[in-house]
Each structure stands twice: as structure tokens, then as C-alpha cells.
């Protein structure tokens, strides 16, 4: 029985390899090796002009992370607005090696445009430059920018996100407030958020004391556990600033579990503008969050992509997204937006 299963699996694997090989062979012209970049570009332009559909490969960081999942959904929605854009999603599952693998796949399958959300900010310049220059496929890097000189960037305004929420906190926190800070994974991207926060809050309000600062890995579960333990040591804290909404909500849940917890005596801040934090703000449990609008980022990416493909834009450029504070005053409109996007019922 065991041997039969092993043979069956081997045959299946061999079969799928052959099928994949066949489809690659169909799509790759036999004289690929000797072609120069410009010849490829001319051929592509002619093909693109005659073609009705633009095939876009969208490689996202991880469908299982709420914000990234929001981004991928938005990319799909926005691409659907254009009849001649066909988008295929690839999930890198939080693994940069998969990102690279999917870029290579997109090249092999001759996509017209690659929109990529990298997992980490590590150096991919050589690969991207080769894809843009040699293969002639434009790349739009969303969320995490690249400085390879050839890719278009629509970066997450990480420093601004941190700075904006820091500003709101600086304006609202009482004198000599004692606050707790939840950080995500301590990597380059997160450090920018933190630097922004520091510049807007810690540097302008030296009277504020930071009771503790810990990593909760952008996870609601970890944020909740951390807050539960913090509530033992610092039950009279004045504010919690979490560098992502997922952790902030974890903090809110932990506070909810405390009998008679007075939410109006503390201020809780998050970053991202996710649906559940909007609900929490509406409910009076959170003070404010900063929107990192995945939908706008997706819209810009798709529209930019289209302009690149139709030749309207030829010069490499960056598009900056603005941040926006969501608090009690404007939370209703964002809840509506999340409902429209199908994230809330």
C-alpha cells in the first residue's frame, strides 16, 4: 500500500512537471536567448497595442495579515473597474523567497505588469532591474519602496503614520501622562514608524513617561496577552500607543475584560485604519487611528499601471499616499467605506 502511494505521488509529480514544462515551452519563444532588450520592448508594444487585455501580476505579502489582505482585495476590486485589466494574485505567505519566486514566474508567463508588495525591505535591486530592463516588464512596488532606479514606488508612509498618530497623541494626552507602547516586529519598516512617533510625541512632550515598550509582532493575540500582563503592573496607565491596529485591538480586548474599566480615563491609539478599530472608536473604546488606506494605494497602483501600459507615462516616478486621522468625528464615513469594500457587514 505504501509503495503504491509512493509511486502514485511520483507519477503525479512527474506529470505536473511535464505539464508545467509544456506550458512554459508554449509561451517561451524558441529564440529567447539572443534577443536584445529593445527588440523585446518593440515587440511587446506592438503586441500590447493589438491586445485587448493587460495581464497584471499582483504579488502581495500575505493574505493572512489583515492589512495586506485588505490591499489584495482592493487591488482586485480596482482592477475590475477596467475591463481590459486582468489581475492575478500571488500570495507570498510572508516569505520573501516566495515573492522572488512569483516575480520569476510572472516573467516566465510574460505578464504585462507586476505590482509587488515586498515582505521585507531587503535588497532586490538586481532582480528588479533585470526584470524591467531585460524583460521589459514594468514593476510597481507598493507599501515597501525600492530604490533601484527603475521601479515605480507607492510606498506606505511609515514615518508619516508614526508621526501623525504621535501628533494626535501629543495634542490629547494629559500632562505627565504615563503611556505604554506596543511595537510590531522590530525591522526597518517598523523603525520608521517608531521614529515618526518619537519625533512627534516623545521629543515634543518630554513630560510624558513611557512605562514600558514591548514587541507584540503585529498580532492581536500577543497584544492582548501583553496588555493583560501590563494591566497587572501598570493598572493606572493613561495611554496605550500601538504601532498597528491589530495590537491596539488586542489591548482594547484585554481592557474590556477588566471589570469596571474606565475607557474614558485612558487613550488608546493605533495605526492602519482597519475595520475593527473603526468600530472600537465608534464604541468609545479607542481614541484614534491613522489610516493607511489600502484601497487608495491599490487605486493609485492600478491607475498608474494602466498609464504605464498605454504609454501615457514613461518616466519613473513615486506616488505618495496621504495619511488621515480617524477619530470620533469622522469614523462613520470610514465604517461606511469598509462596508462598501465588503470587509464589514
Amino acid at each position: 500500500m505504501k509503495r503504491k502511494i509512493a509511486w502514485l505521488m511520483a507519477v503525479l509529480m512527474a506529470g505536473s512537471l511535464m505539464a508545467a514544462g509544456c506550458s512554459v515551452a508554449e509561451q517561451t519563444p524558441s529564440s529567447a536567448a539572443a534577443e536584445s532588450a529593445s527588440a523585446v520592448q518593440v515587440e511587446k508594444e506592438q503586441v500590447v497595442a493589438a491586445q485587448k487585455t493587460y495581464r497584471v501580476a499582483a504579488i502581495v505579502k500575505s493574505q493572512s495579515e489583515v492589512w495586506a489582505s485588505w490591499l489584495s482585495k482592493s487591488l482586485q476590486n480596482r482592477a475590475n473597474d477596467f475591463a481590459d485589466m486582468e489581475i492575478t494574485l500571488f500570495d507570498a505567505q510572508n516569505d520573501q523567497t516566495k515573492t522572488i519566486q512569483y516575480i520569476e514566474t510572472a516573467v516566465t508567463k510574460k505578464y504585462d505588469l507586476i505590482i509587488v508588495q515586498k515582505v521585507v525591505a531587503s535588497d532586490t535591486n538586481e532582480l528588479f532591474q533585470s526584470v524591467v530592463n531585460k524583460e521589459g516588464i514594468p514593476i510597481i512596488a507598493v507599501n515597501i519602496p525600492v530604490d533601484d532606479g527603475v521601479s515605480y514606488n507607492i510606498p506606505a508612509p511609515n514615518y508619516d503614520l508614526g508621526y501623525t498618530i504621535g501628533q494626535v497623541a501629543a495634542e490629547n494626552l494629559p500632562e505627565h501622562a504615563e503611556i505604554l507602547i506596543m511595537r510590531g516586529k522590530v525591522v526597518d519598516v517598523e523603525q520608521q514608524r517608531y521614529n515618526g512617533l518619537k519625533a512627534a510625541l516623545m521629543d515634543t512632550r518630554p513630560d510624558i513617561t513611557i512605562l514600558d515598550e514591548k514587541v507584540a509582532n503585529y498580532s492581536r493575540e500577543e497584544g492582548m496577552k501583553l496588555m493583560e500582563n501590563w494591566l497587572q503592573v501598570y493598572p493606572d496607565f493613561d495611554g496605550l500607543i500601538a504601532l498597528s491596529d491589530s495590537m491596539a485591538i488586542g489591548g482594547v480586548e484585554a481592557c474590556k475584560a477588566v471589570a469596571d474599566f474606565e475607557f474614558d480615563k485612558v487613550q488608546i491609539y493605533g495605526v492602519d485604519g482597519l475595520a475593527d478599530s473603526c468600530l472600537a472608536i465608534q464604541d468609545g473604546k479607542m481614541t484614534a487611528t491613522v489610516l493607511q488606506d489600502a484601497d487608495i494605494m491599490a487605486k493609485e497602483a492600478i491607475e498608474l499601471g494602466r498609464k504605464i501600459l498605454t504609454g501615457e507615462i514613461t518616466e519613473r516616478q513615486d506616488i505618495m499616499i496621504e495619511t488621515e486621522v480617524i477619530d470620533k468625528r469622522n469614523v462613520e464615513q470610514y465604517i461606511e467605506k469598509h462596508k462598501e469594500n465588503g470587509i464589514l457587514e
Binding site: 514591548k214 492581536r220 492582548m224 496577552k225
Partner: protein, 320 residues
């Protein structure tokens, strides 16, 4: 010689209880917030999900099996429970749906292990990927944010004092305890794990026993999944990632041996508490999460090394 032997045995038997006691003392000294009703209640709440999973894992490891898909199955069953609850507002129906889904996964695991004869490690590793994929497909990557009163499974109290998750954890503990000590299936699990051939020779249907073990464990996994989603106050498709590792840790620290045939419910309970209390002490003392991870891993290695070492000593004594 005789006196030494019995002393050694006593120390070994109560080693983990002593460790837990030492941790309590360390905790009390390290922080005034430690030995408070609030904090202890928190710790018990925090470990309840992991402990319920650990009891299931204990049954499996005793039987010579393992389940690496626990996290994914917990997430799937918890997610389905929330979906059902949101539609029907019936807690019982939601729980039954969760258990139903988990039973199907457990049955799949059991059949693959028994009839396809795959090693449990590989079978459940594959199932982990499959089930996690199913959660994402079903949820479309989106959490269910508003689960209404489902979260009472986490925030509710029995008799106004004991948190519901703790009640659930203790209930599963007693079920595991009675099952292992007093029931036929319990004896069969020990036998199959200890020596499957001998068990078969003595008339035990090894295949059926293994499948039953996976089914029982799946019920626990479903309950853990519901507790987890209730605690998070939303159904998250990426929840319970890697939870099987903590379940194994609790079981192993509690004296469950990978060779099979050895393990107890109370050992696992203490093991789970040790992991939870340790994490709590480190949090209260302000130790960074990454350092905590190193410490947790080291404790697991140390616990297993001690366990193996003490078993070798027992064997040596018997030989003499």
C-alpha cells in the same frame, strides 16, 4: 540503597510540581503583582486554550502519534463556530458545528495514519497545510469582526468567580484524567503507544484505537478553537498559528514521552501551567519577547533531557 531509590523516585515523580512551586516563589519575589487573584486568574485564562490542546496532544503522544494540524483545525472549527453563531445566535449549534468540522479533520488524520500507513508527523503536517488553506478559502482572508455574545465563552464567569475558559480547561482535564486511568480506551491508548505489536497480539484493534484517539483529540481541538475566537472577540483565519508546538511542550514537560506509552493528564496540566506561569513572570518582569522565546525553547530541551535522563536511571536501577 533502598532508601536512596525511593527518595529518587519521589523527587522524579514530583519534579514538575516542585518546579511549579519554585516558579511561584520566584514570581512572588520578582513582582508584587504576581500573587494576586487578578494575575493568577489571568494566567489561568491565558493557558486555557493551550492546555485544552495539550490534553489532546497528550492522548496522541501516549498512543505513539502526534498532531501538527491542531492549530489549523482549531482555527477552522473556531471560525465555523463563529459563522454559525452569527447566523443563528445559538451557542450550542455553533459548538456542535465546530466539533463536527474537527471530527472530520480528525477522522482524516486517523485514516491517513492507519490505512495509508503514513507516519503521523507527515500526515498531520500535510493536513495542517490543507486545513489552513481551507480556512483562508472559506474566510476569504477576512476576519469576522462582530461575533456578538460568542465572546461570553471567554469573558463569562461560573458562579460569578471562575472564568469560563478555566472551567472548560478543568473539565477537559478531568475527562482526560478519567479516560486515561479508568476507561478501556485509555488502557488501549497506553498499550498501543507502548508497544503496538504486543497490543495487537493481545487483541487490541490498533487501527481503531488510533482513529478513536484522533477523534477524541479533535473534540478538544474544536473546543480550544472556540475558546480562542471568543478570547480574540473575532474570528481570525490566521489564529492558532504554531499552537501545536506549545501543546507538545506542555505534554512533554509534564512527562509525556515521545516513545509512547507514558504520560498523564495531571503532568500535562502542570506542564501547561509551568509554561504559562513562566511567560507571565517574564512579562511582569519586563523581559523582551525574543528573549522569552529563547528561554521557552531552552526549558523544553532541559525538561525533555531530564525526563530521558531519569528514565535511563530507572532502567539502570532495574538492571542491577
Amino acid at each position: 540503597m533502598g532508601l536512596k531509590k525511593s527518595n529518587g523516585k519521589t523527587v522524579n515523580k514530583y519534579a514538575i510540581h516542585i518546579v511549579l512551586l519554585v516558579l511561584f516563589i520566584v514570581g512572588t519575589l520578582a513582582s508584587d503583582s504576581f500573587l494576586t487573584v487578578k494575575n493568577i486568574s489571568n494566567v489561568l485564562r491565558q493557558v486555557s486554550v493551550q492546555c485544552v490542546l495539550a490534553f489532546g496532544m497528550t492522548l496522541l503522544i501516549i498512543g505513539g502519534m502526534i498532531d501538527l494540524s491542531m492549530g489549523a483545525v482549531a482555527a477552522l472549527s473556531g471560525f465555523i463556530a463563529c459563522s454559525v453563531y452569527v447566523l443563528t445566535n445559538q451557542m450550542l449549534l455553533a459548538l456542535m458545528a465546530a466539533i463536527g468540522v474537527a471530527l472530520i479533520c480528525g477522522l482524516a488524520n486517523g485514516i491517513i495514519v492507519t490505512y495509508c500507513k503514513l507516519p503521523p508527523f507527515i500526515a498531520t503536517m500535510g493536513m495542517d497545510l490543507v486545513v489552513r488553506g481551507i480556512v483562508y478559502i472559506y474566510s476569504d482572508g477576512n476576519p469576522i469582526y462582530q461575533i456578538g455574545d460568542f465572546n461570553k465563552l471567554s469573558t463569562g464567569y461560573l458562579f460569578g468567580v471562575i472564568p469560563v475558559p478555566v472551567v472548560v480547561m478543568l473539565t477537559i482535564f478531568f475527562i482526560t484524567l478519567v479516560l486515561l486511568r479508568k476507561t478501556k480506551i485509555g488502557r488501549q491508548i497506553y498499550a498501543v503507544g507502548g508497544n503496538a505489536e504486543a497490543a495487537r497480539a493481545s487483541g487490541i484493534n490498533v487501527g481503531k484505537t488510533k482513529i478513536k484517539t484522533y477523534l477524541i483529540s479533535s473534540c478538544f481541538v474544536a473546543i480550544a478553537g472556540c475558546l480562542l475566537m471568543a478570547r480574540l472577540n473575532s474570528a481570525m483565519p490566521d489564529a492558532a498559528n504554531g499552537y501545536h508546538a506549545d501543546a507538545v511542550a506542555a505534554a512533554v514537560i509534564g512527562g509525556t514521552a515521545f516513545s509512547g506509552g507514558i504520560g498523564t493528564a495531571s503532568g500535562t496540566l502542570i506542564g501547561g501551567l509551568i509554561v504559562g506561569v513562566l511567560g507571565n513572570i517574564l512579562d511582569l518582569a519586563g523581559v523582551q519577547s525574543y528573549i522569552q522565546q529563547v528561554i521557552r525553547g531552552s526549558i523544553i530541551i532541559a525538561a525533555v533531557a531530564w525526563d530521558i535522563g531519569s528514565k535511563n536511571r530507572k532502567v539502570k536501577v532495574v538492571r542491577k
